[in-house]
């Protein structure tokens, strides 16, 4: 048995019954994972992504020493008034969180949830991840807590919800299996941030699994902010969304820091006139890896998807973009665009980009494009001719490249927060 599986077995021993799902109910998922084992590079979906490190880290879900509440103010987005939900090592932290939950906006950790009291929870929990991939099954078997968010019909949430996942790795390497279930009722409107932060000198492994359901005309924006430790943080982040009629789902995935990041995002457009926006920005340097796998399924007529991923790869880093778009036979008048643009800064940096379009309808508008290049040399010379030093000119051009994604965000404070991080990374 691989070291990873041995560690997983140990984790299973510490799994307890949840009111929402008993341990025996979760066994099948563990068995499934064990049977398939970890993916290898022979698996098409993992061809460019090596996860051998999982067998080298001696992790547990650990308890860790206490987190100081003062630390929180340093890692949240300043001046942004949010419902803050903090999970430490995958468990809800009452002390560190600050939010209000009511009938219109339910924010409830799984550990405090009684399934039968919440119809929408019961209807949706685990539905989208059923038959999912290995890490989703692993999550289902081992999840230590999670967050249920439900918006009532017509409810427009004024405050953004911030789910902050903290890994406390002060004493030992940590694995975190955490879930989110978000149900946005008819005509509701909400913005949610999902971010990661590791503390301590040991490795962290996050395995997040999120299910997002949008009812008719709901509007949900989901920000994944990944700006964690460059040497120690490993993130597996799977998000599945389902869009009913007229709903709008916008996902932003910013991968700005982490040794290893694998995002899998899927959007099923199952209602007419639904719209999915998928925006991604990744900056990978040193020895890091950022992998974005996206899947958009147009299942009914008249739906739209806009996908726009871009990134800068430097040093010996690796970027992977795999964008699959499926247009089913009945999905006439689908409008789907996909773009992936990359800048590669060093000889040893690598980007593998692969668009996959499967179109079974005949009256559709689908386009895709992938470019990989270096910095625009003409622009660089132009700027230098105006007295701007080479390094600064390069940074400014890279910032410009990144800003194209940032400016699509409609929360000023998040824009500023990301601008600051990116400027720091680019030495501006």
């Amino acid at each position: 048995m691989s070291k990873f599986l041995t560690n997983i077995e140990k984790e299973w021993d510490s799994v307890v019954d949840f009111p929402i799902e008993s341990k025996p109910e979760r066994l099948a998922y563990l068995e499934d994972f064990k049977q398939k084992g970890l993916p290898t590079r022979r698996d098409e979906d993992w061809k460019y992504t090596n996860i051998g490190f999982l067998n080298k880290i001696n992790f547990s879900s650990g308890n860790g020493s206490k987190i100081n509440s003062e630390l929180i103010s340093g890692i949240i987005i300043s001046d942004l008034d949010v419902h803050l939900v903090v999970l430490v090592n995958g468990k809800f932290s009452e002390d560190l969180s600050q939010f209000e939950s009511n009938e219109n906006l339910k924010i409830i950790p799984f550990s405090k949830l009684k399934k039968d009291n919440h119809r929408r929870f019961k209807e949706n929990f685990g539905k989208m991840t059923e038959g999912g991939h290995r890490f989703e099954n692993l999550n289902r078997a081992l999840f230590s807590d999670g967050l249920f968010v439900e918006l009532g019909g017509n409810y427009k949430a004024e405050k953004t919800i911030h789910i902050l996942n903290i890994a406390n790795c002060k004493d030992s390497p940590v694995i975190i299996n955490h879930r989110n279930l978000i149900v946005a009722g008819e005509c509701s409107n909400v913005k949610i941030i999902n971010s990661y932060y590791s503390i301590g000198a040991f490795e962290s492994i996050f395995n997040t699994s999120s299910e997002i359901n949008l009812d008719n005309s709901a509007n949900l924006t989901y920000y994944n902010l990944q700006n964690d430790d460059q040497d120690l943080s490993h993130i597996f982040n799977t998000t599945r969304s389902q869009l009913a009629k007229n709903s709008i789902f916008s996902d932003f995935t910013f991968s700005l820091g982490g040794k290893f990041i694998r995002n899998e995002l899927s959007c099923r457009l199952i209602g007419e006139q639904s719209l999915a926006n998928l925006y991604g920005l990744y900056l990978a340097d040193q020895n890091s890896l950022v992998d974005n796998h996206t899947f958009v399924a147009h299942e009914v007529p008249n739906s739209t998807s806009n996908e726009f991923y871009k990134g800068i790869i430097d040093d010996r880093a690796k970027g992977i973009f795999n964008g699959r778009v499926l247009v089913k036979k009945d999905a006439q008048k689908t409008n789907a665009t996909q773009q992936n643009r990359n800048i590669v800064l060093s000889d040893k940096a690598q980007i593998n980009t692969k668009p996959e379009l499967e179109i079974y309808a005949d009256d559709v508008k689908c386009s895709h494009g992938a470019t990989t290049g270096v910095i625009d040399q003409d622009a660089l010379f132009y700027m230098r001719q105006r007295g701007i030093p080479l390094a600064k000119a390069r940074s400014l051009l890279m910032f410009t490249f990144c800003y194209e994604t940032i400016e699509k965000i409609d929360i000023e404070q998040i824009k500023e927060y990301l601008t600051k991080i990116i400027k720091k990374r680019l030495n501006i």
Binding site: D378, M383, R384, G387, I388, L390, A393, L396
Partner: protein, 255 residues
């Protein structure tokens, strides 16, 4: 102070020789026009003085106030007062004109050991110089040259020239593609910048720009060499007679 001395300049790109020994001396405050057939090496000369990395100088020197600039990086040349108005100004989406100029002005000031301009001073300077080329202030907020018309791009070059207050200016076919109104605006702008101390090289195909900006000397560059020099009347003569009568125009090379 801005005297320029180009001596026996040879240059090549991708192994092809484009300049075959250019000699040119420009004293303080002089305006020199360089004319010549397509492919004679005019734009190469301009790019080379500015330090374009694609061109390789095989021999010769370019002295600015006695200092050889060939060893300097493009930004260092700009900081020493060399300004190239590009034939094809580059679009930089996402960087506003104002921000671009702020970086540029302050980087040049920094190289000269000066403090950066205060926000208010900088704004005032921009407003003042924008008037030189009748540029609406909305241009300052727009991305550099992004979606600009040909005429707007050239006006923007002259605006930047006014902002940076350089000592040695090379204008590379700034008049090409301009209608008569735009040409007048651009030429007026340049005339306001001219202060009797700045030196100019004006590269052009046509005499019409030189009606507005009157040169002290006119040179004909052909086959990578200056084959004839004269006063401003030479431009008129070239307009009438073309270049063939000068001979030596057959061995054209790629620009």
């Amino acid at each position: 102070m801005s005297s320029v001395k180009i001596e026996n300049l040879h240059a090549s790109v991708g192994g092809v020789e484009i300049l075959n020994g250019v000699d040119l001396e420009i004293n303080d405050g002089e305006i020199h026009a360089i004319m010549g057939p397509n492919g004679s090496g005019k734009s190469t000369l301009a790019s080379l003085i500015a330090g374009h990395p694609d061109y390789e100088v095989t021999s010769g020197s370019i002295l600015l106030d006695g200092q050889d600039v060939l060893e300097l990086e493009p930004e260092q040349r700009a900081q020493k007062g060399i300004f190239l108005a590009f034939q094809y100004p580059v679009e930089i989406p996402g960087v506003s004109n104002a921000n671009f100029m702020k970086q540029s002005v302050n980087d040049i000031r920094k190289a000269k050991g000066l403090e950066p301009l205060k926000a208010g001073e900088f704004l005032k300077l921009m407003k003042e110089k924008a008037k030189f080329v009748e540029m609406d202030k909305s241009f300052l907020k727009r991305s550099v040259n992004d979606g600009f018309s040909g005429g707007e791009k050239k006006r923007n070059e002259v605006f930047q020239m006014a902002m940076l207050d350089p000592e040695f200016i090379i204008m590379d076919e700034t008049d090409s593609g301009l209608d008569i109104d735009a040409l007048r605006i651009v030429a007026n702008g340049v005339n306001k910048i001219k202060d009797g101390k700045k030196s100019f090289i004006i590269i052009t195909h046509y005499q019409r720009l030189l009606e507005y900006i009157v040169p002290d000397f006119v040179h004909v560059l052909s086959g990578g060499k200056i084959i004839k020099s004269g006063g401003s009347e030479l431009a008129l003569e070239l307009e009438e007679r073309g270049y063939d009568w000068l001979g030596e125009t057959n061995d054209e090379v790629v620009a």
